[in-house]
């Protein structure tokens, strides 16, 4: 069993052999992966040591103290958070060996080709078709809301391979090469003026069967692993008081007494309390996970933060008065990251509107809480036993 002391020793060995200041960033990351210190809970040979997930913090702390280069986890979040756990669980040995190392080092960025214009919350209704031709699949369709598609080398893709069975049964999961002919990425400009997302058009894209993940027709189950991991990521980080969006507005309140009104004061205090309580709930969840007893609180964290971000940023625009009439820049840009605290209030107000939509709308998440946590009956289903091709669209 690998314990904290052992991990500390191995980390120091890595640092001694590849001194951070004198080693190329990518070389260091590769060495770290090969030493099993990338994600310690992964198996040996795949960047890990089969150690408890909670011990990752030990390695991270040692590396941070040594000022070692990191793999920019925010930029490659989709790969780390969604593609990797799914490949680990359902991939062939060959797929794991091929994809996990460059994914973790950030050499290869990943994106997620799930949502479609006609299949958002009802994701399983998707219509992108994959038809088998010998050892290949020919894919046609359109995906949407694809973060990082313009940067990505690889995509996780779900497509319909059997339209004659009910919708959940006819889906298959693929790993799609974004440089293949027939993959076209178009920026999708948003309310903020920026194009953080893309539309992706797939026209006769040929994917070898060796890049199928899981069995034919089992794609919905494979996708559940991806989606569950998408939601797990939220709430696990320790943040200080005023660490979120409430920070900038509190700072403005303190520094600009001329902007204060009684109405805004009441609302600010209410939101300050709610933000602090949401932070405590996140901390409680983190403490539960640390002792190996994850609670269902995570299901609610995204809901809470979406609402708070929207209300707080909305309040901040009002607080700014005349400045609230302005906007920093409407130029169409293509940011690599979403910045929730470093930007102007107007940007945050507009961008936070997406917080209650992306990664599951608040309405769908409330259903999930009601059904999976509280055990309330599910909605009546009219699509359950109907072949996908016979569903009304």
């Amino acid at each position: 069993m690998t314990d904290a002391a052992e991990l500390r020793r191995r980390t120091q060995e890595l640092l001694a052999a590849h001194q951070p200041g004198a080693t190329d960033r990518l070389d260091f990351l590769k060495a770290r992966f090969d030493a099993g210190l990338a994600w310690v809970h992964y198996p040996e040979g795949l960047g890990g040591l089969g150690a408890p997930r909670t011990l990752q913090a030990v390695v991270d702390a040692e590396l941070e103290a040594a000022d070692a280069p990191d793999n920019d986890p925010r930029r490659i979040g989709i790969g780390l958070g969604m593609a990797a756990p799914t490949i680990l669980k359902y991939g062939t040995e060959e797929q794991k060996q091929r994809f996990l190392r460059p994914l973790w080092t950030g050499e290869e960025v990943w994106c997620q080709l799930f949502s479609e214009p006609g299949a958002g919350s009802d994701l399983a209704a998707l219509g992108t078709r994959a038809v088998r031709e010998g050892d290949e699949w020919v894919v046609n369709g359109q995906k949407v809301w694809t973060s990082s598609a313009h940067l990505a080398r690889w995509a996780i893709l779900i497509a319909r391979t059997d339209p004659d069975v009910p919708k959940h049964a006819g889906i298959t999961y693929f790993l799609c090469d974004m440089t293949d002919p027939g993959v076209e990425v178009r920026p999708l400009r948003q309310v903020t003026g920026e194009a953080e997302f893309n539309e992706v058009f797939l026209t006769d894209v040929r994917i070898p069967d060796t890049r199928r993940l899981g069995e034919v027709g089992d794609g919905w189950r494979v996708a559940q692993t991806t989606l569950n991991n998408e939601r797990v990521a939220i709430g696990g980080m320790r943040i200080p008081r005023e660490g979120g969006m409430i920070g900038p507005v509190s700072k403005t309140w303190r520094e600009r007494p001329e902007l204060r009104t009684h109405d805004l004061h009441q609302r600010l205090l209410t939101l300050w309390v709610e933000a602090e309580v949401a932070r405590l709930t996140g901390e409680r969840l983190r403490q539960q996970m640390a002792v190996g007893q994850p609670g269902p609180e995570g299901a609610g964290m995204k809901l809470a933060f979406a609402r708070l971000n929207q209300e707080i940023s909305g309040l901040e625009v009002e607080l700014l008065g005349e400045e609230g009439l302005l906007y920093e820049d409407w130029t169409m840009r293509r940011p690599e990251l979403v910045d929730f605290t470093g930007r102007d209030a107007g940007y945050r107000y507009l961008r936070s509107k997406g917080n209650s939509i992306e990664g599951g709308t608040s309405e769908v998440l409330l259903n999930i809480v009601a059904e999976r946590v509280l055990g309330l009956p599910s909605e009546p289903r009219t699509d359950k036993d109907v072949a996908w091709k016979d569903l009304a669209r």
């Binding site: 204060r260 009104t261 409680r284 539960q288 609180e297 609610g300 259903n367 946590v373 009546p380």
Partner: protein, 361 residues
């Protein structure tokens, strides 16, 4: 960092107490009892105090108590809240006890031991709605006796001894049989308030009133959040249970999305309240420098949640929820009275404005 979880010992305490309350504090019994002249449940109090030693949790072992902390007391209050138990636990074992812990006299030490055993019940003679650090009334002290009248004193009818602030800045102990206690008609039948009239009542000096009152009300407010958590938790659990069974339009009512979303929202609020209440309990237990903020945050958040959850529980039980026989009204009355007790949410937000430097215009 604050420990926001429950320890194994705390969970064991909860389980034992929940069993006891299931046997000795059923809702129908509480409804019957609060309609009588003796709304407090003496037998239950004896079981809590003698049987489980819970009255002395906050009192050091050297003074006859259990030497436990606010964390364990918070668990007790969660369970008493879930049962809307008509016992003077918060008022005697928490608020009066905390006041005595701040006094250094022998008189206070003796009384503390008596309260810890549970055989004596104490009540701080300050109106229940007074917030920590807010102004409160005092009676006139003259030649070792007290004169005047105080109103809104919670659980005074059950108390054997009253801890009374006087106009000379001291806190005094007065035996209940030396004063006139007149029960007021109370919104919360399970925690009735009373008027106490002092007509030359003999008084024993305990210590300075100001630090004792400040400490007592702060602990009361902070731990009240755990009671509010218990109230909200019961309301949510019962409502979910009922809506899974109750059918209308040939479906369980709990399957309608409009109601599911409301219940999921309540669940979120309860989950948040648990974190806020644990944070306050832990901050009080560890005498954290952050305790004032933790208490104000907990009250500002938990009070409206308990009221909201009870109001939703009544609405979602619909017709039956509006009856006297269904216990949801006990919870609504407790939640609403609790939202005033030891300062409203608004008072606590005002306190926060000072504490975290978000000043008013």
């Amino acid at each position: 960092m604050t420990d926001l979880l429950y320890s194994e010992e705390e969970e064991a305490l909860r389980a034992a107490l929940r069993d006891l309350l299931a046997d000795h504090c059923d809702a129908a019994g509480v409804i019957t009892r609060v309609e009588t002249d003796t709304p407090h449940d003496r037998a239950l109090w004896k079981a809590l105090a003698d049987g489980m030693g819970l009255a002395g949790l906050l009192v050091p072992e050297s003074q006859g108590g259990q030497g436990a902390t606010h964390r364990e007391v918070a668990v007790v209050l969660e369970e008493l809240g879930r049962a809307v138990a008509p016992v003077p636990y918060l008022t005697s074992a928490v608020v009066a006890t905390e006041a005595l812990l701040a006094c250094e006299s022998e008189e206070a030490a003796g009384l503390l031991t008596a309260l810890a055993s549970g055989r004596t019940i104490g009540a701080l003679a300050i109106a229940l709605n007074v917030a920590p650090r807010a102004a409160h009334k005092a009676v006139r002290h003259e030649d070792g006796a007290l004169h005047g009248e105080l109103t809104g004193i919670a659980d005074a009818a059950a108390a054997d001894v009253l801890l009374v602030p006087a106009d000379d800045g001291a806190l005094y102990a007065v035996d209940a049989d030396a004063v006139t206690v007149t029960t007021q008609v109370s919104l919360d039948l399970t925690r009735p308030v009373a008027t106490v009239t002092f007509d030359g009542a003999p008084a024993r000096r305990l210590g300075d009133a100001e630090p004792a009152v400040r400490r007592a009300l702060r602990a009361g407010a902070g731990l009240l959040a755990s009671e509010q958590l218990g109230v909200a938790d019961w309301c949510l659990t019962e409502t979910v249970r009922y809506l899974k069974e109750r059918k209308q339009f040939n479906r369980p009512v709990g399957g309608f999305q409009a109601l599911k979303h409301r219940l999921a929202q309540l669940w979120l609020e309860v989950v948040n309240t648990r974190a806020a209440a644990r944070n306050a309990a832990d901050a009080l237990a560890t005498e954290s420098t952050d305790a004032d903020v933790a208490v104000a945050v907990a009250q500002a958040y938990a009070a409206p949640v308990a009221v909201h959850t009870a109001e939703e529980a009544l609405q979602l039980h619909a017709g039956i929820g509006m009856t006297w026989e269904h216990p949801v009204h006990l919870y609504l009355k407790r939640a609403k009275a609790d939202s005033i007790a030891y300062g409203t949410a608004g008072r606590h937000r005002e306190a926060l404005a000072e504490l975290v430097d978000l000043q008013a215009p």
